[in-house]
């Protein structure tokens, strides 16, 4: 009978209201971002400058790329704790190939293959051996970090050519290259998730894996692919990072998986899968980037910054819960 009370009041109102309610989560996260921007603009004279805004997006791009991959995984009902380590592998491999004199394109492809391969391995173990994603990727987090340290002998690999440094540090007109990469990847992710059968399957598996399987979806293939995508995005992120720093750090990306998960969740994607989207994740990542940047500008000690970040995440989840209960 509780069913009835849900149905009746909205009957006949139709799609417009429904769509509004649906997009409301994202709308509100966006509003939250806007609010934080307003507050920071009022608090620091340096915040609302073109340089600083580009700084923010550039700084956010590393986490956003990771979080985009993570969005696929979380939408399908999984989790990937290995992205921070996988990005280190990819950046180390690319750096290693570059410094050994390899062509830049080959070096980048090498890094992407290494990271995507690890993601693919995650996916195969999770889907074929039916092991929980949490455990498998936790193990991979350790394995990939170890592989990076072995490959680099614990030392950073540094000193790349200008062409490679352009990826993370260059500009096209006034626009930093990582921002351009971010926009391109975002667009592709959006189309894949919203417009292709594959994207629909990812949502369906997150909503109910059994129903998806019985509806003729090759759930194992999709799940494997999703982890491979996450590995690919982590690699891309790692390569951009190496280029930005002009150095591949063996310890790069430590703890980044949690920032990526936080961005996804802040963006309104449900940790249980099936709901959410890539634009929300971008907003989530931007919120985290803006808070970091703003608190830096305001000269707030990094200790407070951690508290602020955690508090914002808690608040966001709480609001998400509230809106779900209200619906």
């Amino acid at each position: 009978m509780s069913q009835q009370s849900q149905e009746q009041p909205q009957a006949g109102v139709g799609a417009t209201l429904l769509e509004k309610i649906k997009s409301a989560t994202q709308f509100k996260t966006g509003l939250g971002l806007l609010g934080i921007i307003v507050v920071l603009s009022l608090s620091s004279e340096y915040f609302l400058t073109v340089t600083n805004l580009f700084n923010i997006v550039t700084q956010t791009s590393i986490n956003a790329l990771l979080a985009f991959g993570m969005t696929f995984v979380i939408l399908s009902g999984g989790i990937d704790l290995s992205v921070g380590s996988v990005m280190a592998v990819a950046s180390a491999v690319t750096a290693g190939l570059l410094t050994s004199g390899m062509n830049m394109v080959i070096a980048i492809i090498g890094g992407l293959i290494a990271g995507t391969g690890l993601g693919l391995f995650n996916g195969l173990v999770i889907s074929r051996l039916a092991m929980p994603a949490f455990i498998v990727t936790l193990a991979m987090k350790s394995i990939a970090r170890g592989l990076t340290l072995i490959y680099t002998d614990g030392r950073p690999i540094s000193g790349f050519n200008d062409a490679f440094q352009f990826l993370g540090g260059g500009k096209v007109g006034p626009i930093p290259v990582p921002v351009i990469i971010l926009v391109i990847v975002l667009t592709i992710c959006y189309i894949v998730l919203k417009k292709t059968p594959f994207g629909r399957y990812v949502y369906a598996i997150g909503g109910s894996e059994e129903a998806a399987e019985l509806s003729g979806i090759k759930t194992k293939v999709i799940k494997t692919t999703v982890f491979a995508i996450s590995g690919f995005m982590a690699s891309l992120s790692g390569i951009v990072l190496a280029s930005r720093l002009n150095s591949a750090q063996p310890t790069a990306g430590t703890g980044y998986e949690l920032d990526a998960i936080a961005a996804v969740v802040l963006g309104g994607t449900s940790l249980t899968g099936g709901r959410g989207g890539i634009t929300g994740t971008l907003i989530g990542a931007l919120i985290m980037g803006v808070i970091n940047n703003g608190l830096n500008l305001l000269n707030v000690s990094s200790f407070y910054q951690l508290v602020a970040k955690g508090t914002v995440i808690l608040l966001a989840i709480y609001l998400d819960r509230r809106s779900k209960q209200a619906a």
Binding site: Q3, S5, E210, E213, L214, G216
Partner: protein, 498 residues
Amino acid sequence: MSEDLILEMKNITKTFPGVKALDNVNLDLYKGEIHALLGENGAGKSTLMKVLNGIHHQNSGEIYFKGQEVDFAGPREAQEAGLSIIHQELKLLPDLTVAENVFLGREKVNGIFVDFADLKEKTADVLEQLGVDIDPETKVRDLNIGSQQMVEIAKAISQEAEVLVMDEPTSSLTPGEAELLFDLIERLREQQISIIYISHKIEEIFKLCDRVTVLRDGAKVGEVEVANTNRDQLVRMMVGRDITERFPEIENNRSDKILEVKNLSVPGKVKDATFDVYKGEVLGIAGLMGAGRTELAKTIYGAFKPESGEIYYKGEKIEINSPKEAIDLGFYYLSEDRKEEGLVLTESVEHNISLSILDRIKNIGLIDQDREGELARKYIDDLAIKTPDEKREVKSLSGGNQQKVVIAKVLSTEPEVVILDDPTRGIDVGAKREIYNLINDFVEQGVAVILISSELPEVLNLSHRILVMHEHKIAGELDGGQATQEKIMNLATGGSIN
């Protein structure tokens, strides 16, 4: 007579934001009476009971219990006053014993220790009073659903309940367990305990109840003595329209053999199944819960891997390794578990309908969303799915309409063999009828229908042939015309047709 009145609900009205869930409803209950509360899903039965035990509070109207006006703050207070509700989903703790469950929270203690001997003795007393043969020291986990329900009832009786509300008590019981429950209800009646009995199953009402109150759309349609009414009248009262026949005549349109299954076995699930399926017929599969009906269906559908056996489809030997392959060949399986396996509840009506055919409506890799929308709207029209529009979350639809969304998904693939696993579970009479009509449509189009159902009348009335399963094996095949409930039950319980 009026001093025997134990419960009276007068002019109860309850509104939720934007909806009147109960409109001026009256209900009374005499000592020792079994009073049926009948109505379709969403008619207001559960809301009325929630008002009764204090989960909801009425906007207007009064409740008198044992002559006193009451307004319970919640279920606990209602229980203490002598009014218990046995819910559809049982609320026992599986790892505690029967005795511990019955007296949970009310254990007699010596010092800081629970007096287990006392607990056991008292529980044994209650169980004996109810004529139930259960060892108080068994863990609840080890009992079947029927026995668990009796423990729940024993718990209520031990709290000196005078009024019991039973919400769909037989919905997950086997026929045998249900019989035991009916015996127990009779004994409760003899002990002057009053029962409000909520059920969809009209047969049970005729068997057990004294009076019946029918609700529709939150209002009381009427109250009749069971002795003075008949099934048709009750159905009419429930749905507000005449249903001349409960089951439509399904014409046998049988033509070519489409599917041939030989010696199919899956360890622990299916043993040596052999049968044929023809185009344009309904093949019923009956059997008790756990007999392997669903497993057999899912094996054909590619969800389980057979260990041995052969499947021939349109004369060719095939091997199906996944539901995807089955669908591509022309099969479709509608799951018994609509919410977990039939639908993706987080998605919209439209996305659920198109889920199995996205590959067929894509254009250079992208989903043709115009076509997808058209398709969804077409099925919403064709099947009269009650939803404001196709973008609606499927979760917000009623059970019957959700099931129609699943059927739309089945239809969208244009299947040649459909396996319907308990397609009418938990949906109301009107929606059931519509689903029966759809089965008829399938048959007319020459589709082969395999129908699994827990409700014997359904299998009996809709099938042209019936396979009966017992302990993972096909125990026998009956012709639709000659099958009876008795014959099916015989086979289903391990007996023979003769």
